[in-house]
Symmetry: C2
Subunit: 305 residues, 2 copies
């Protein structure tokens, strides 16, 4: 199966600890890398996980808090030092990121050899912001202290499988197979018409990953991330800080698990841990009491879908 | 003895590796922290070395390349989140750093509770840029691709030591001792005058640390850092890249050691290692062949003077 791998580069929140890097993730989908958030230290973590800088052309920033974007300037500058020439696309809510970054890029990357295209996205709507032959990325509106959205990565349903037995039985030539995969039928030598459905078996379902950070508890998220293979939902706090979670527009592990349960997702991964938790077992247990198939994010973790 | 400790937070150069953080150091001088350069990841390294954020009020930036200043914004933002109220002083060549930082500080630290004072320094002259009761910090002109200077931290000579035997012999009262330390003599009960020099022994020499990064080889540095207790000199390259060192305005380990030898410093520490060296023993050996008392910088290293 083609790759659909998630790498956790950092899963802490704003205050630094010796245990976590702040937020960044990378998806490797069919050898294209997609970055989600880019906090301080991201380029170091990319190196450590031996992810190839040259395969990264698309970066999605959920919101403009430092613990989600302060790693951009260092990484862009490194790309320049390494002689990058291919275009880099950066998606973020509104136009502020470009306004902030342009003067720094001009100053620190004086003779930059590649284009950076900033895409201003509307964080309040569900919309496709990226699409290629095999994938769509769409926004997931979140509610935080500043404009913020998550991202839903959904593989397009591949084509159906050809039935080898029928191909052999009917002697269908190689050149006709692609048309049949795309929906065509077949007329045999005696003029009998075979319907498309008789010649193929159902396609695999496209895989999906939803990233939701940072956000106050939003029950309506369940509808948007319905049935995804893997949901990342921030869990900055545990039950002991329910009030603080609400005040700071963050979620608890239990709330993350409630979204996962109502959405009937296959698996939940929680992260964006507050510096107050020495280890995150309390968060894991609280989440598991609602949704069993939960794991903790951790730097260096790789999950293959 | 009062503290005069150097901490290495990062000693790599611009390109990220899994082995080093880019450049940052901290001096703890009598419980005041002084930071020199502040690359990406510095706040994480401060945390790991358990250095107290609240004791840091002065940051010296050698030059405006990303691998020496990209960690500032994250650290300033963290100070704000932690409720800092005391003033922070940042020294750097020219006024560019303030121009670059102000819009980011306004955006990311919206209701910041402390003042940041940017000091524009002239990197071409040797001048005292900071002074307190026990310390001066002065600039060391360096030659790099952009305006750049090192910093010389020099403890002021403390007061001389009182001769306990003379105090007892003459029955000098406690209240008179400070005046004698400051230079006064003493007249005893019989009217005999004792000179200051008869009552004290020589003061300790003030300790000194010189930081020189980044720079092309400059023989004249030896005069400026003459006899310091510890010299940090960048050694981006080894002999095998002598030409590249010159082209990029960096130094080799041998050149760093030559400066140390001619300056008759007590110890040399080399750092700012290029990503091309898998380990730095080659650099260490080349430096030691010229100046024996050389060590390699390393994250987590602490040196007490």
């Amino acid at each position: 199966m083609e790759k659909f791998d998630l790498y956790i580069l950092g899963c802490g929140s704003a205050l630094p600890t010796g245990r976590h890097y702040p937020t960044s993730q990378v998806l490797n989908i069919r050898e294209k890398l997609f970055m989600i958030d880019c906090a301080e230290g991201t380029q170091l973590q990319l190196r450590r996980q031996k992810l190839k800088f040259s395969r990264l052309n698309h970066i999605f920033i959920s919101h403009l808090h430092g613990d989600h974007c302060f790693g951009l300037i260092g990484m862009l500058s490194t790309f320049d030092l390494l002689g990058r020439t291919s275009k880099l696309h950066i998606y973020s809510p509104g136009e502020d990121l470009e306004k902030l970054m342009r003067p720094w890029i001009s100053y620190f990357c004086r003779s930059i050899g590649y284009d950076i295209v900033f895409h201003a996205i509307n964080s309040k709507e569900e919309a496709i912001v990226y699409e290629d032959r095999s994938l769509t990325v769409s926004t997931i509106p979140l509610k935080h202290r500043v404009p913020c959205c998550g991202f839903l990565f959904r593989e397009k349903s591949p084509l159906p499988h050809i039935r080898r037995d029928m191909i052999d039985f009917l002697g269908i030539p190689f050149y006709a197979i692609n048309a049949i995969k795309q929906g065509a039928g077949w007329t045999d030598a005696e003029g009998r018409i075979w319907r498309h459905e008789e010649l193929v078996t159902a396609a695999d379902t496209g895989r999906s990953y939803a990233y939701c950070s940072d956000t106050v508890y939003r029950p309506q998220l369940s509808e948007i991330v319905k049935g995804v293979d893997l949901l990342f939902h921030e869990s900055t706090f545990a039950d002991d800080a329910l009030k603080r979670a609400k005040e700071t527009y963050h979620s608890t592990a239990r709330q993350a698990a409630t979204v996962a349960k109502n959405a009937e997702v296959k698996r939940l991964i929680i992260g964006h841990f507050s510096a107050r938790y020495e280890d995150e077992h309390q968060l894991l247990e609280e989440a598991k009491s609602v949704f069993a198939d939960t794991i903790l994010a951790k730097e260096g973790l790789k999950i293959s879908l």
